[in-house]
Assembly symmetry: C2
Homo-oligomer: 347 residues x 2
């Protein structure tokens, strides 16, 4: 008997490699043209990789932060010595709640540790990584069950193997559904300004042999109007207690368009993405990044000298527009406080 009946092949490229004393982080800014890793030997290195967008994807940022804490533990006598590392990591990306979850989790493990403190945190980071991966496998199966066949789907940004411990959240669901014969075609939106869709998601889809055609973000409405689109499937950076979903800027636009066209809008995210301290999406801070990232593209200036730009990195989709949230603990549907709590906490 096969001890691991999960039917999908492993990812071709891993965004993290752990050597035991070094976290090698795939520099995703260089994809798809180059595959290069950054060596992170401290929490500061991990925070810098996160800040610079070399490391991205909310679940992956969480996993890397767990390793950042484990790296800090190697230089520390006990839990008190971890507070600076925790602070540096927390500040590296304000929106991805998985980051805060991972840091808090590692701190609580540190406080409870007996014996070899550094070894305990190393093992915990490895376990955190593995749990995130297992969560993705579960979400992939659970999410696929929501789809009718055959189905063309639109996806956004990158919530694939590159954004997680493997397989991906929204892209994991798409990969599993493709394996089950439920996906005819995938349309990834390019996702300005960082182009995670064209650089990362399209690349992953092509590596998996899934038929995919890139569109610019502004084509999604036209596509929904003129082609049979069965679902919009996205990930999330943070989910509020009421089910409002914070994700990459542009997600809200897709949700409004999906509602207008009566297309199901699915969010796939591990329960570590839920932030019960945010009562609604209004409580989630929207990171504003450097406007130069909008005024330039691939290093080339595309706007007049002296121009001003907004660079909102995320937006919030109100729960009313979300058909269902797929988590590793089950499907939240309808999306409301009660159902979200029931799935995330009680199960």
């Amino acid at each position: 008997m096969n001890p691991d009946p999960f039917p999908l092949p492993p990812d071709k490229v891993s965004p993290l490699e752990w050597t035991g004393d070094c976290l090698r982080v795939l520099d995703q800014r260089l994809l798809p043209s180059r595959i290069a890793y950054l060596d992170c030997r401290s929490a500061e290195d991990v925070a810098e990789a996160t800040r610079s967008m070399a490391l991205r994807g909310a679940p992956l940022i969480g996993v890397a932060a767990a390793f950042g804490m484990a790296l800090a533990a190697r230089r520390s006598d006990g839990p008190a010595g971890l507070s600076r590392a925790a602070e540096v990591l927390r500040r590296s990306r304000p929106t991805a709640v998985n980051l805060f979850h991972a840091v808090e989790h590692m701190l609580s493990v540190a406080h409870a540790a007996n014996g070899d403190f550094a070894d305990r945190l190393r093992r915990e980071a490895e376990a955190y990584w593995k749990r995130d991966f297992e969560a993705n496998r579960t979400m992939a199966r659970t999410g696929s069950a929501l789809l009718k066949r055959p189905c063309r789907v639109i996806t956004y940004c990158n919530a694939g193997a590159l954004a997680t411990s493997g397989l991906g959240t929204s892209l994991g669901m798409i990969r599993y559904a493709f394996h089950e014969g439920k996906i005819e075609h995938v349309y990834p939106c390019e996702t300005r300004p960082y182009l995670q869709g064209s650089r990362l998601t399209l690349w992953e889809l092509m590596q998996c042999g899934i038929p995919a055609t890139l569109i610019t973000d502004n084509m999604a409405g036209h596509l929904m109007k003129t082609r049979p689109i069965g679902a919009v499937i996205v990930g999330s950076d943070r989910i509020a207690a009421n089910g409002d979903v914070c994700n990459k800027i542009g997600t809200y636009m897709l949700a409004v368009l999906a509602r207008h066209h009566r297309i199901p809008f699915y969010v796939v995210a591990p329960t570590t993405t839920v932030d019960f301290s945010a009562r609604t999406g209004a409580a989630i801070p929207i990171e504003e990044r450097n406007p130069d990232e909008v005024l330039t593209l691939a290093g080339q200036r595309i706007a007049p000298a002296g121009a001003r730009a907004h660079h909102f990195a995320f937006d919030v989709t109100p729960r009313e527009l979300v058909t269902a949230i797929v988590t590793e603990k089950g499907v939240v549907r309808p999306v409301n406080n009660k159902k979200l709590k029931e799935v995330v906490v009680r199960r």
Copy 2:
């Protein structure tokens, strides 16, 4: 007394210059970093400038086509000799109906011409240019009257001085409304893949001293949700007999978002944009351009080798989503067959 009471200063850069035997066409692909003109001495030259996107903007394409016909007339004995030029020009851009309008108009003038045939067509092209400019002045005033003050507006693509004989259609309305104190701030969307918003509209707004902040196309929804946006104002490439509006890809997305947020959605276009032979928007062919324009940006490849992409150049916004169409003959509101015909034909 001032013989011309129009209160706005002239445009700083003209997209066309007419020497009498040469149409100098601003190469808009190089903006905003370089100002360079292409010399067009034949209808074929004008068609090539249009095909290559050096020349763009539906009304401007119409005006340039009129000059293209005038250039052809210089080498022709009479109207029969113009049929090849007409065909070459018609084929240069399938969506912009102003092109067809201009070609047909010049052919009918040619057939009716007495005396110096080439001179008659030259004068008619100059008059066509002037009429388009006058139409823009009228639309600017008429459109501005629709706005309440103070108002932040979102605009799309470029329907400014660069897209027309001067002043612009949607941007003309914005410029006039700014002059009247009705515009607080303008958010041009960058408009992928050609970035007419960041390269051209933002540049024009800055030259006019109008406060403007660039956004990526996918930020429009977030902006409508979080800021008081008073109107979305766009141009059009073709309007069907029922009032459906064909315009740059992404316009439909904005219209759906505007409706969701109860924001007025205004289309500004001269009556030469109306195509009564298209019963509805479904009859308007949507040009698909080279996918490489989506897979690359500013010459740089942004997607994996072998990737596929769609490049729909336009989309159709159903009339139900259009608050009003501003033409030089008046405002079409509500937008329906009867009212459109009344404004465009009967007046």
